[in-house]
């Protein structure tokens, strides 16, 4: 191989890699596009443009979307959960989180606690939890996700739940879009897992076992079984990160409990509400979770969450 040819090959390889890289604009999800990039890089062979474009077309992006902390908090409120601050992670714990994974987990946890406090008009707690979430975001190097103007805006609108929810939503969007754009999908996944686990922890703690049957909040807890495979896929797509590896083991344990819950569904029929132009998805669903399984779930969730907040 002569020198000119080698230079040409090098440049062509870099150009192809450039094209493939430009095709991906990340967000928390497993990603066959990334696999395509890795394959091309691993092979290290120059390809012509047609082949590179074909690779991109065959690639497929997969997003595994967990409920956000705000959505989890909203679900608890809609199910009639009563606010109790003893179930939240105390803001004083924020100083204990110095590693990237503990900061990511607790960014999700504090954002869920913040959302929960917001929905119940806990004015001082809203400010405290926003500051705790800011500390975690700052620790992760997420620039300006939560800045002083966010805190000021929060204080100015402290009695306006709608505006507070909008601020919480914006700050969470700033954080996870920053992580996605800076090629940190694993950290973005850990944040989501933290938020989801906190919602599940609070919900399982709030349920009064004497009021188990027919409890709407129990129904919402059962619904989380629908997200466990999404959560596992999300983690598996980032399993090269050592912190994710540990989470996978914990979530596998959680899944074994969720597997004891049955959810049977019939096909969906759709109907359109013409006054609101809303599609209504109708389907029959039967679910079953015994009190023993609920107790086991509560215990496993508390054990895992305990490792997150320690």
């Amino acid at each position: 191989m002569n020198k000119k040819h080698r230079i040409g090959t090098g440049i062509l390889t870099v150009i192809i890699l450039c094209m493939i890289l430009l095709s991906g604009c990340g967000s928390g999800g497993s990603d066959k596009t990334q696999k395509t990039q890795k394959n091309a890089a691993a092979v290290g062979q120059p390809k012509d443009n047609t082949q590179a474009i074909q690779d991109i077309k065959q690639a497929e992006k997969i997003f595994n979307a967990l409920p956000s902390p705000l959505e989890s908090a909203m679900l608890m409120k809609s199910a009639g959960a009563k606010f109790d601050r003893k179930f939240l992670n105390p803001v004083d714990n924020a100083k204990n989180y110095t590693t990237q994974s503990s900061q990511a987990l607790n960014l999700g946890i504090f954002t869920c606690d913040l959302s929960f406090a917001s929905l119940y008009d806990q004015t001082q707690l809203i400010i405290d939890y926003m500051n705790a979430a800011k500390k975690m975001a700052d620790g992760l190097g997420i620039l300006d996700a939560i800045n002083q103007s966010t805190i000021d805006e929060l204080e100015e609108n402290i009695n306006n739940t709608e505006v507070i929810m909008k601020i919480v939503s914006e700050t969470f969007l700033n954080s996870n879009s920053y992580l996605a754009d800076n090629d940190q999908p694993a950290i973005a996944s850990i944040v989501l897992v933290g938020g989801w686990m906190e919602g599940l922890y609070i919900a399982t703690q709030i349920v009064d076992e004497k009021d188990f049957n027919g409890n709407k909040l129990v129904g919402r807890i059962i619904d989380q079984k629908l997200s466990i495979d999404v959560l596992q896929n999300l983690l598996n797509s980032n399993k090269e990160n050592p912190a994710i590896e540990a989470l996978i083991i914990q979530m596998n344990k959680l899944k074994t409990v969720f597997d004891k819950i049955t959810i049977k569904t019939k096909p969906i029929k759709t109907e359109i509400d013409k006054t609101t132009n809303t599609t209504i998805l109708k389907s029959e669903v039967t679910t079953d979770m015994s009190l023993a399984t609920f107790k086991e779930l509560t215990s496993v969730v508390a054990e895992i969450r305990g490792t997150f907040v320690k």
């Binding site: 230079i7 430009l22 909203m74 409120k77 809609s78 939503s169 996870n176 109708k282 389907s283």
Partner: protein
Amino acid sequence: MRIIRIISVLTLFIAIATLNVEAQCKTFAKSECLPKLNPYTHDGNYHAAVLVEGEEAELYKTFYSDMDYRLAIVGESKLQHVEFKILDENKNIIYSNKDNNYAETWDFKLENSKQLKLVVKVPQFSKPGDTPVSGCVAIMFGFKLKK
């Protein structure tokens, strides 16, 4: 030495270009997709990707019976249309925006909580031999408590 210099410069170019495209995608999602959720509350999650003509993306998410939802999917104007379909666990199509003039939003609610699959596709529109067009596609969810 010369090869190393060329590769270093191109690598730097790639890094800057990639970050720039991704930052543009985030800005696009916030400025063009987020407002379409109004009056629903955005859940705070971020899903956006640069898709090439003919490329598909999939999203899996659980939706709850207590909520009213709005899905907004917006692509850059150079992509012409973005198609999306909602499928249930048996791969039955629940909704397709192709049958609704490529609507960018879909409002829905569920009688019972379900995990649904969303398939997003940028249809092919360039002539054979032309360089395929790519652009940012943002997917966002808004919710409000069911009335």
